[in-house]
Symmetry: none
Subunit: 371 residues, 2 copies
DNA sequence: TATGCTACTGAATCGACAC
DNA sequence: TGTGTCGATTCAGTAGCAT
């Protein structure tokens, strides 16, 4: 597999590979601050009576219940703190992490994340549309899992493709509860005996939403509990780089085979809807400089209750107020802020036209002739 | 109010009263092992910074009350451990507890519950049908809260009214995610100034489901953070005894007034929640996430005059147009609007098939297992 | 009385960048 | 590191008043 070098520090990164070994050791061997996003589906084999294992796979001694429970919690917490710390070291300053779990472990994991300095952005509920029923009728059907989305620290400028997610949700902003089916059918990988290759294979739809929403093409995504490689498969399809860590040979084999068959979507299909924030800034003064508006022209507020006059330096003057289009609009409305671009209109052929139209013209020209 | 004596230890219990004071001190003054169920809605420790305005410039009325302020995680943890310990002492051997929270606090609370010896039975997600949006477009809409349901210890024979819940859910097993609206309208209590009496009043529908599912008539329900008394009101309606603890006089007053008006349901009046659901909304993006269509796939218009390509975010790109299936269809036809579901087809085995067929598949899956 | 329009609201950790 | 300025951003629903 190829190794790209267009990402900072990426030359040292084993991109698009599955690394064999203990995830903490492997992570500690990778360069600091080199990863954009981590997706982690850590094991949680506690509370399974008769099959209680430590994360290092040694059996937990059967002692009295209370001590046993406390002991295994402590072991699990130590394991959790260990991999979370190693993961955080790898993240770029503006990197982020997703962790998925169920009620058996997610509360401990979430608390550990907060204690380690991660800044929780949302918890997201994966609502399974076809969960396993509760056969004994003693509890609620366990129909969801919880994901925690957190940035490396409070100040991180994390990636969030708001418009793309809104598009995925047909024009309504994406909520913190996602209804998606579990992984079944052809997508569910089988081993050579025809049994399911991994007990908790995640659906690609889940990773699609995670990666479209919180990464950009070319970003490096690390999955320290790679399993059968759902994270890698979706990353490859979406034009992201991945690094997987998995210590079970059987899973690595299945994942390698799976990944070899995956093809990247074509470039045009990977383009997603972007927000206005991503567009170049146009100072209002440019409309005056270019003669699209002339000093002395009158602008009218959206609600037609106020007017103001354009000045040569690209500021406005209204009744007792002068300043930028935003400042004058805010002052006249008595509002804490105001987007002057959508607030002010000018007259053309007797029609009121938002000044934002002129900005769009300039932006269109810029797109035709970049720089 | 009357004091019943049919419950063990109940003669010492201040039933159907609101107790004034610190919840830990009050709980420690009540007899050990006397409570059937605890419902707790502790402070969330929101840690809000500046003001937040809606896009229309109106200010969001934030939860900035003194009781939600904690100086650090450590202080919050100490508080949490304190009340959880006092609560557990009060529970009967087969008693249980519900705690509600958001991502700000629920992970710490859940871990503390496990450490204190509670045995988690389920986490239940309250999916809000009408949450407040994310106004800045920087995160997912915070559309749910999490409840943890736990028994006093692993061996507890907790109460679970499986059939009653199944009836509440139109004959299907109750799942771990509940769709309920937030508390608004006339149910939302106002103070004498006409402002909301409590910033975080919970809907009665939520408590209804909790109490029907995990208590029996005559059981004693304790709420250590009583607020305006939703737990008490629903308990009274359902013929359960309640004890409330609340240290804010303003909340106690509102709750007393509220409770004085509440009448117990007569035995036959099962209020039926006939939820005549509209057909669930299926965003086109979900067909892409779920792999029913792939980014790069081509769609063809019904009249075969146009085609467009599917993108990773569930938008289409045609000749010089991009946007939702509806927008692109309308643009290509020069029409003011267009139903993309019936306008676009994909090819399967050389045949043109309307994409609406795929939507119907998803709806059929959802109909099999409602809610 | 029915219908339509406007105003308002809800547990929210809700900028980025230049100087 | 702080300050000032630009300017992007909302969904489902209820209440109340006007027609």
């Amino acid at each position: 597999m190829t190794v790209k070098t267009n990402t900072k520090g990426a030359s040292k990164l084993p991109l698009n590979q599955i690394l064999d070994g203990d995830c903490i050791e492997i992570m500690n061997s990778l360069p600091e601050g080199s990863i954009d996003l981590i997706f982690a589906d850590p094991p949680y084999n506690l509370q399974l009576k008769g099959d209680l294992h430590r994360p290092d796979n040694s059996k937990v001694d059967a002692v009295d219940d209370e001590w046993d429970q406390f002991s295994s919690f402590a072991v699990y917490d130590k394991f959790t703190n260990g991999w979370l710390k190693a993961a955080r070291r790898l993240l770029k300053p503006h990197g982020a992490i997703w962790v998925i779990g169920s009620y058996h472990n997610i509360f401990r994991v979430g608390a550990a994340m907060q204690n380690a300095g991660y800044w929780i952005l949302n918890d997201v509920v994966w609502r399974k549309s076809n969960p396993m029923p509760n056969f004994r009728g003693k509890r609620f059907t366990n129909a969801h899992e919880t994901m925690i989305w957190a940035s490396k620290e409070e100040a991180s400028k994390y990636t969030f493709n708001y418009e793309a997610l809104k598009s995925l949700n047909e024009g309504v902003q994406m909520r913190s509860d996602w209804v998606l089916p579990i992984c079944t059918g052809h997508e569910r990988l089988k081993n050579e005996e025809g049994e399911k290759a991994h007990p908790t294979q995640k659906p690609e739809s889940l990773l699609h939403r995670v990666l479209v929403g919180s990464t950009n093409p070319g970003d490096v995504v690390l999955d320290p509990f790679f399993g059968t490689g759902t994270t890698g498969a979706v990353a490859k399809k979406l034009g992201r780089e991945f690094i997987g860590i998995e210590r079970e040979e059987a899973y690595r084999k299945v994942a390698e085979k799976r990944l070899s068959k995956v093809r990247k979507f074509d470039r045009e299909s990977l383009q997603v809807s972007t927000s206005k924030r991503a567009e170049p800034r146009v100072p209002f003064g440019q409309l005056v400089e270019r003669g699209m508006l002339t000093p002395g022209d009158e602008l009218y507020s959206m609600n037609n209750r106020h007017k103001a006059k354009v000045r040569a330096d690209g500021t406005l003057i209204g009744d007792d107020v002068k300043g930028s289009i935003h400042q004058v609009g805010a002052a006249l409305e008595g509002a804490p802020s105001c987007n002057g671009w959508t607030y002010w209109c000018f007259k053309r052929d007797g029609q009121r036209v938002p000044i934002d139209l002129l900005r769009q013209q300039i932006r269109a020209e810029m797109a035709d002739r970049p720089n």
